[in-house]
Every structure is written in structure tokens, then in C-alpha cells.
């Protein structure tokens, strides 16, 4: 019986297995195929901290969720339509993430008694134990079929078994009528020096695809049409890559060489890795001895005239606190990126959270305000990094850019911008003695920015540092000078409000309830607003890319709604901040601190409970 091809708009697929099963690569290859097919997509790599966690344990399950669609893909999806479970632990860990209509593809070979027991199953019928009987379950002996497929490949037994993820990928490609060519091309490039691996991977992928077509278990396959994108050239981009590239763009636009001093820390490390590759564009990276050296080398580089950045995650930001104060008092351009993760302390290091906001705002000694910005999606990280660098360089001050593990690792399609459409970045450089002597802390009226005299320039020799100074740059402990300088530095930060875009409202422009968010929750909040609007709820979304200072129209936006609901992946840090900045409003909260992103259904549920 020929199978039926069903058109659907959206589908969510989750690949899951042991942390050594290659689920991240499988997901990435499915993503590439979706991108070339022209779908909208959003991905969510969700993996444990251990590189190779103990086999067949729940804690060791690595997942990669991807949402593809022809329209309205704002998040990686709440629950999945297709779950690939390479072992019993993966099935148990993800059973709750499947829709009741879901198809579950399991590697039947992995469900032997011992391994099922390790995952906590007791009866030999995991599906029934998990009450998944209404799902469509495809028991595919993926491991043994992979072995059979590669028996003449010449690969050793270990390499053969390692290829089983490609068999599973082949099944999924069949399920969604995807061409295999893009993946063949990937193998060809990846294994250019090992042709035997090209042949083997091609074969396993094709055999998986054929297997799915031959068995009677799959009655329908699905067609997710390409999305109607605006004209242009597109690419797939993840948040950390976009962050790195945004800084390179700012370096090109400002003419200031890019320097990154950093120390590896999950989930921020790939920004440093991406920048380290870019020596072709003159980027200098220094992998330091610790987090403190990361920021201190960057401060030195800023003093010497570079666009200096440092990248980290929450625990690293704690270590950088003192040096942040040094950047504030010396009024040097610097961007600090915090790709937030679950805390406190080491917390759940590979899981996402928004729990560093108060640290970013207030975690320094003295009166030490900084501009705080946030990226809200993988591709937005590019613009956020660009604008953070522009503000830092033109206003002569450190800027903190908050990202999150969820968007740092997540990816989405991105219409490639052209650099000619981006503004120039013009730092207030001094290149000669204009009015006699150079005074390091004299300010311009517009931005209150000091001028930047670079070492190496004749006639501008000056000394700056962590001691309080007057506008002329002389060390001073005069009480009134100190208070004046404290106020000037704070005013300079507040002045940034004149240079940032107004807060935009998505959905209803006025109405019953305003969702308020910041950072990586944007997709889920936006998706929730769309859905609530379709249910005739009068709901809008105000999502903050600029946190300190707040956009000037913030109160005007808040005024237009009866209820304000601040949604965050923390215990209410932004809500507390808003309470201190705009006390005239009453803020309700919806919070989640599980190391996991929101689900759209959680947001809509919270809104419906209020309205």
C-alpha cells in the first residue's frame, strides 16, 4: 500500500540518546536539511554537562529539539511530534515531552532487559509503563540494521555502531520527505581525507531512509512546505556565532582592531572559539589563565585602543566584578558578554536561565552603574553585539551584554544583512593636542563621553586608573570631586536612553494584559501573544533589549494595559528592577527556574488564569 503524503505547517522533532550517541550532530544535520529545504526552524540543543555521561542513565541523556515549519516558528516547540529515542533512558527522560499524537521511533536493540532496568523500567514494556500506548511507536532495530548495513564497509565494530545515528536520521528524512543530498555533501566535505567514511555514512543514511519506506509501520509521511521568506540570502546561525560576528562587524565599522580576552566556560566558550578562527579578519584572542585575566587583558587592550571584549558565564562574571569597576571608573570602552546558565555556583552548567540580571545590574562595589543589554534570539545576537560595541566605543564605557545558553547554542535561519546597511561607529578619538593639554575626563555635552587618547600618540601622555580623579585626570580624594564624578558617570549611563530605540509592542498595542520579558524568552512570549490574539485575548508583548537604562517610552507602554505580567526564567529579578524604576505600576510575575526554557503553553496558561 503506497503511503500517503500529508501536508502540515509545523512539526517538532526531538532526537535523544546517550551523550555519546551523536544526537547533537544528528540534530544539526536535520537542521541543515531543513534550512536548505527553506523551512523556518528553531533549535534547542539540551545536553548534560558530562561529555560521556554513564551509559543508559537519565542524567546522561542528550537531546536536540528542532521545530520546523512553513509559518510561525518562534520557538523550538513545546512538545514534540516525533521523538527519536536511542535507548530506554532517552525514552523515559522525554516521554513527557511528546504530544499524545506523537510518533516515537526507538532503537529496539537498545531495549534489552539490562539496559531497560538501568533506566528504571521493571516490566519489559516501557511504553505501557510510561502510558504511551496511544502514541505511534516504531520499534526499529537500528543498531543491528546499522551493523548489517556496514558489514562489508571495513570499519571496525566501534565505528560501525557509532554510525547508528545516521540510520535514525535516514528514517526521519523519509518521514518528512527530505532529500538526502545536503547530508551526502556534508559527509563528502567532513571526511574528505577518509573516503571509506563517506561511503559508509552515505550508505547508512540511505539504508535508514529505505528501511522506513519498506516497513509497513509508517502509514503517512509529512510534507512541511518551505516558508514564505522575504527575498534574500539566508544562512543558519547560532547565538554564540552571531555574537562573535557582531563584534567583528563592529570592529570593521569602527576601524578599531578586535581583542577578546577570555577563559573557557560553558556555555560561552564557543564565542571565544569562533573569534579564535578569525585571524583572517585580524581578530586577536587571548585564552587567559583565569576569568580575571580575561577582563584585565581586555581593559589593557581597550586602553591601548582596541575594541576590547571579554566573554563569560555567571560564575565568571562574579570573578570579573572588581575589574568591571575598573572599567567603569577609567571610562574605557569594553563589552562583557555573559551567556547565562543555571546557578548559583556551578548549578546546572549546561542549562539555560536568566538569573544573572541583578548581578549584572548591581554586582560591583561602589556606585558603579553600567549599560545592560540583552540578546533575544540566536540571530539577534549579531545586532545586540554590534550595538553593544557601538555604545561602548562612542560613549566610552563598559557595556554588559546578557545572552543565555538557550539562544547561545540554539540556531535559526537568518537573512544575511549587508554591512553597508549598518551605521558607522565613531569613537571620540583624540589624534592631536587641540586645546593645549589633554584632560582625560572632560566630557562632551551630548553623550557625556570623555575623549580617547591612545598610547603611542605624541603629546597626549596621561595616567588613568582605579583611583578617583577629577575631570583633569588628577588623583583626588576631595569629597565633592568624588560625588561629582560618581554623578557624571551615572548620568552618562542614563544618557544612553537618548540613543536607543523606543520599546516596541508586539500584538495588541493596548488592552487587558501586557506580557513583559527580556532576553531569550522572546520566541516563547511572542508565540504566546500570537496564540492568545487568535483566541481574541487583548494581549501585547513588551520585550526589553535594553535593560539599563530602560527605553524612555517604557511607562507610556505600560500605561496602556490593565495588567502587567513579567515573565522570566528566574525568581523575578526584572520585575524587582522595574518596581524600583517605575513604582507607579503593579507587576505580576510568572517565573520558572528549572534550567529549561518556557513552553508557550505555560505562558498562555498563566495569562488565561489571570484574564
Amino acid at each position: 500500500m503506497p503511503h500517503k503524503i500529508v501536508d502540515i505547517k509545523n512539526v517538532v522533532i526531538r532526537f535523544s540518546g546517550d551523550s555519546g550517541d551523536g544526537m547533537q550532530l544528528t540534530g544539526a544535520l536535520f537542521t541543515d536539511a531543513a534550512a536548505l529545504w527553506g523551512n523556518e526552524f528553531s533549535t534547542f540543543p539540551d545536553f548534560p554537562a558530562e561529555i560521556r555521561a554513564p551509559q543508559d542513565t537519565i542524567a546522561g541523556v542528550s537531546g536536540f529539539q528542532i521545530h520546523i515549519g512553513s509559518v510561525d516558528v518562534h520557538t523550538p516547540g513545546d512538545l514534540c511530534d516525533v521523538l527519536v529515542a536511542m535507548n530506554p533512558a532517552a525514552l523515559r527522560a522525554n516521554a513527557g515531552r511528546t504530544k499524545s499524537t506523537a510518533t516515537i521511533i526507538i532503537d529496539a536493540d537498545a531495549f534489552e532487559e539490562k539496559r531497560s532496568t538501568r533506566a528504571g523500567f521493571t516490566t519489559g514494556d516501557p511504553i505501557r509503563e510510561l502510558k504511551l500506548e496511544d502514541r505511534t511507536v516504531i520499534y526499529a532495530p537500528i543498531t543491528s540494521l546499522t551493523k548489517e548495513s556496514l558489514k562489508d564497509s571495513g570499519l571496525d565494530a566501534k565505528a560501525v555502531v557509532r554510525s547508528k545515528n545516521m540510520f535514525a536520521l535516514g528514517i526521519c528524512f523519509y518521514l518528512f520527505n527530505r532529500p538526502l543530498q545536503a547530508t551526502f555533501n556534508y559527509f563528502e566535505k567532513k571526511f574528505a581525507k577518509r573516503p571509506e567514511l563517506i561511503a559508509a555514512n552515505n550508505k547508512v543514511l540511505q539504508d535508514g531512509f529505505n528501511y522506513a519506506g519498506n516497513i509497513q509501520a509508517i502509514h503517512n509521511t509529512y510534507n512541511v512546505k518551505p516558508a514564505k521568506y522575504p527575498k534574500g540570502t539566508y544562512r543558519n546561525i547560532n547565538g554564540n556565532q552571531a555574537t562573535a560576528w557582531g563584534f567583528i562587524a563592529a570592529s570593521e565599522k569602527s576601524g578599531r582592531p578586535l581583542f577578546c580576552g577570555s577563559y573557557p566556560i560553558t556555555p560561552a566558550t564557543s564565542i571565544l572559539e569562533e573569534l579564535a578562527v578569525r585571524k583572517d579578519l585580524g581578530v586577536k584572542t587571548l585564552q587567559c589563565e583565569d576569568e580575571i585575566a580575561g577582563i584585565c587583558t581586555a581593559i589593557g587592550a581597550a586602553f591601548a585602543g582596541n575594541l576590547a571584549i571579554t566573554t563569560t558565564s555567571g560564575p565568571g562574571l562574579s570573578l570579573k566584578s572588581e575589574a568591571l569597576g575598573l572599567a567603569v571608573i577609567t571610562e574605557l570602552p569594553l563589552v562583557v558578554v555573559d551567556v547565562q546558565r543555571s546557578g548559583p555556583s556551578t548549578g546546572i552548567p549546561t542549562k539555560t536561565e536568566q538569573t544573572d540580571l541583578l548581578q549584572a545590574l548591581y554586582g560591583r562595589n561602589g556606585e558603579c552603574p553600567m549599560v545592560i543589554m540583552a540578546s533575544h534570539s540566536p540571530s539577534h545576537c549579531f545586532d545586540a553585539a554590534f550595538w553593544a560595541a557601538k555604545l561602548a566605543l562612542e560613549h566610552m564605557m563598559p557595556v554588559m551584554l546578557l545572552s543565555e545558553g538557550f539562544i547561545g547554542n540554539g540556531s535559526e535561519p537568518w537573512r544575511i544583512p549587508q554591512m553597508k546597511d549598518y551605521p558607522a561607529i565613531v569613537p571620540p578619538l583624540v589624534d592631536a593636542v587641540n586645546d593645549g593639554e589633554y584632560f582625560p575626563f572632560l566630557r562632551d555635552e551630548k553623550r557625556l563621553a570623555r575623549r580617547w587618547a591612545l598610547p603611542g600618540t605624541p603629546g597626549l601622555m596621561h595616567r588613568i586608573g582605579g583611583l578617583e580623579k577629577d575631570n583633569a585626570g588628577q588623583v583626588s580624594s576631595d569629597p565633592l570631586v568624588h560625588e561629582k564624578m560618581v554623578r557624571e558617570r551615572a548620568a552618562k549611563v542614563e544618557r544612553v536612553a537618548d540613543f536607543i530605540p523606543p520599546l516596541k509592542v508586539f500584538g495588541e498595542q493596548e488592552g487587558d494584559l501586557l506580557l513583559v520579558g527580556w532576553g531569550g524568552t522572546f520566541g516563547h512570549l511572542y508565540g504566546a501573544v500570537k496564540q492568545l490574539q487568535s483566541e481574541h485575548r487583548r494581549v501585547g508583548l513588551a520585550h526589553f533589549d535594553y535593560i539599563h537604562p530602560l527605553p524612555k517610552n517604557t511607562a507610556d507602554v505600560f500605561k496602556k494595559f490593565k495588567t502587567i505580567l513579567v515573565c522570566e526564567l528566574n525568581n523575578g529579578q526584572f520585575a524587582d528592577y522595574l518596581r524600583s524604576r517605575h513604582q507607579e505600576f503593579y507587576y505580576r510575575q510568572y517565573n520558572k527556574v528549572q534550567g529549561q526554557p518556557f513552553m508557550v503553553s505555560e505562558i498562555t496558561g498563566a495569562v488565561n488564569a489571570i484574564l
Binding site: 589593557g300 603611542g456 601622555m461 596621561h462
Partner: protein
């Protein structure tokens, strides 16, 4: 350009305690810089002084050069950033024994390991001065201070040993009171490519007065110190009649003219020897059995970090297909949407 010491004096009032060892060090540096400029063809805008926290760390304010007064312990990291960002600058770091070896110990050894082309002046007065008299990582074992009222129970660092342990390419030692030697070493340090560490044995007149007096005192100095110069025999003493020889694997002090020892038997200093064995022994010589070694003890040539960074960038750029950000954004897999 011909400079005078006056050209390196800033307008800032110098605020160290009267009698502080920092005064002669500052004067020696300000005197040496005209010669450095003359010898190496430098103009003064290329100098950047970077410091951490401590009495010595006020130094940059007093030099009419570019200067950055950092935070406690981080001078080496800040100096590293300055140098890597702009390798045409000549970077001098000023740190005390607490700044460089306690809170900043990690940055100190890693700067040396990388062989960043910076000059580190390590003012070693064996005490915390700015916080008013607590023991430091170089305080002698048993030293009584405010935080060790019954004497310290921890062994001090010998900074030179740390430098060699971190594969340092340059180590020199001088006395705050010997401005001529300090000046000579400043010039050698400036000429050295790589991390050049100079330990300056310094007096703290308030909290650790006389800590180096047993070797710096005018009457004992020539007997208890030896100034090493590359290519010259290791001879010392007020009558220049004592020298160093190897006895098996150990150094020993001998008297020239006694027991058949002639000047020819005395070791000749080779600062350029890559094997650190003899340098380590020289660094560890202590009074009263041995003279304390001063001068440039080690100066071996090796590629610097900043040179390697620059070479790598140039090599990659020569073969690069990505020339600008537009190229970068279009690199890898992309797809067209035409409608």
C-alpha cells in the same frame, strides 16, 4: 630625540614616605630612560607604565608617559592586554611583592610563561606597606608582623626561582640604593625581547626598615653581593679577591691567590645559557655563606608571544579568502530565497 630625566617626570606630587626605597628606584628609571630612547631610537609616547595596587604601584603617576594604575594583582594581565593589542608600545609593569607574587601570582607566572614582551619591575620590600605592615610572600620565615605576631610559619618565595620555574627568559636583581646598577639593568631589560623581570631589593622605612641591610649596607655590600655581567668572571669583594667556582654540582666561594686558585679558575658568567641550572644556583645564593647575586643573571633569546600572535595573523591573512565581514557572513552554507 635627546631626552633628559626631567622629560620623564610628571607634574604629580610624589607621595611616598620620606626615605622610601621607591624614590631612588624612580630616579634611576627616570635617568635610564633617556639612554633607552637613545640606544633604541624610541620616542617617549611609546612607553606605557602599568601597575597594580601597593605603594610601588603609584609609580605610573610619577612618570610623564602613558600610564595605567590597575587593581590589586592584575598589573601583568593589564600589561599583557596593552602589549598584545598594540605591540609597537613598550610596556613597563610596576608591582610590589604582594601585588606580583600573592594576589597576582597567577598572572605573573603566566606572563612569563608566554614570554610577553613586557618589563616587570618587582619592588621587593618583603612586607605589605600600603596596608600598614603585614607579612608578604617574600617575608623571611619567622618574620614578626601585625598578622604574624608570633612569627610567620610559611616559607617565602624567591622571585627568581619562580621566574625560572615559569621558563623565564630574563631575570635581573638590583638594590634600590644602587641607582647606577638599576639604570644599567633598565637598559638591558628594555633591550630584551620577552618578559624581563627585575627584582629590586627595596627598603620599607616604616614597616620593614633594614630588611636588606645585611647586604645593602655600605660597609658590607661589596663583600655580600656580587654583580654579574655577561662574559665577565664572577669576582666580588672589597678587594676583588673572591670568586665563584663549581665544586661538583655546587657553587663555592674561593679566594683568588689561595690554594692555587687563579682568576682563570673563576666561573665566567653566561647570562645567555639556556640551561637554567647555573642561573638557578646563582639566584639562590644567600648571605652569609654566599654573596647575593645582582645584575642580569639570565637573558636568553626566544620568540615573544606578541611576535607569534602577529606572525600567525599575517600567515592566516596571506592565505585567506574571507577579507571582510560581508565575506564572512556569506561563508559556509547559504541559500537564496528568490520570490
Amino acid at each position: 630625540m635627546q631626552y633628559t630625566p626631567q622629560d620623564f617626570k610628571s607634574k604629580q606630587e610624589v607621595k611616598w614616605c620620606p626615605g622610601c626605597g621607591d624614590y631612588p628606584i624612580l630616579a634611576a628609571v627616570q635617568r635610564a630612560f633617556p639612554e633607552i630612547c637613545k640606544t633604541l631610537g624610541y620616542t617617549k609616547e611609546r612607553f606605557v607604565f602599568v601597575s597594580g595596587i601597593g605603594c610601588a604601584s603609584r609609580f605610573p603617576y610619577y612618570m610623564d608617559t602613558y600610564g595605567f594604575h590597575g587593581i590589586h594583582g592584575r598589573a601583568a594581565a593589564i600589561a599583557t592586554g596593552v602589549k598584545v593589542a598594540n605591540p609597537t608600545l613598550t610596556v613597563w609593569q610596576i608591582s610590589g611583592d604582594g601585588d606580583a607574587l600573592a594576589i597576582g601570582g597567577n598572572h605573573f607566572i603566566h606572563a612569563i610563561r608566554r614570554n610577553i614582551d613586557i618589563n616587570i619591575l618587582l619592588h621587593n620590600n618583603q612586607i605589605y606597606g600600603l596596608t600598614k605592615g603585614q607579612y608578604s610572600p617574600t617575608s623571611k620565615l619567622g618574620k614578626v608582623t601585625k598578622t604574624s605576631p608570633f612569627g610567620t610559619v610559611e616559607h617565602p618565595f624567591n622571585p627568581g626561582e619562580l621566574v625560572l620555574g615559569a621558563r623565564g627568559t630574563f631575570f635581573a636583581r638590583t638594590l634600590d640604593v644602587d641607582m647606577k646598577l638599576t639604570g644599567e639593568i633598565m637598559v638591558a631589560s628594555a633591550k630584551h625581547d620577552g618578559t624581563a623581570v627585575t627584582e629590586i631589593l627595596q627598603n620599607c622605612v616604616i614597616f620593614n626598615d633594614g630588611t636588606h641591610a645585611h647586604i645593602t649596607g655600605k660597609t658590607v655590600r661589596e663583600e655580600r653581593t656580587i654583580v654579574l655581567r655577561h662574559g665577565e668572571p664572577m669576582i666580588f669583594g672589597i678587594n676583588r679577591d673572591k670568586g665563584l667556582m663549581l665544586d661538583g654540582l655546587q657553587l663555592k666561594v674561593v679566594r683568588i691567590g689561595e690554594k692555587g686558585v687563579t682568576e682563570k679558575d673563576i666561573l665566567v658568567h653566561n647570562a645567555q645559557e639556556t640551561n637554567p641550572g647555573i642561573h638557578m644556583m646563582l639566584i639562590n645564593m644567600q648571605a652569609p655563606d654566599f654573596p647575593v647575586a645582582l645584575g642580569v643573571i639570565r637573558a636568553v633569546s626566544d620568540k615573544t608571544y606578541d611576535d607569534n600572535v602577529r606572525d600567525q595573523v599575517l600567515a592566516v591573512q596571506a592565505a585567506a579568502t574571507i577579507k571582510n565581514v560581508d565575506d564572512l557572513l556569506h561563508s559556509g552554507t547559504t541559500w537564496e530565497v528568490k520570490n
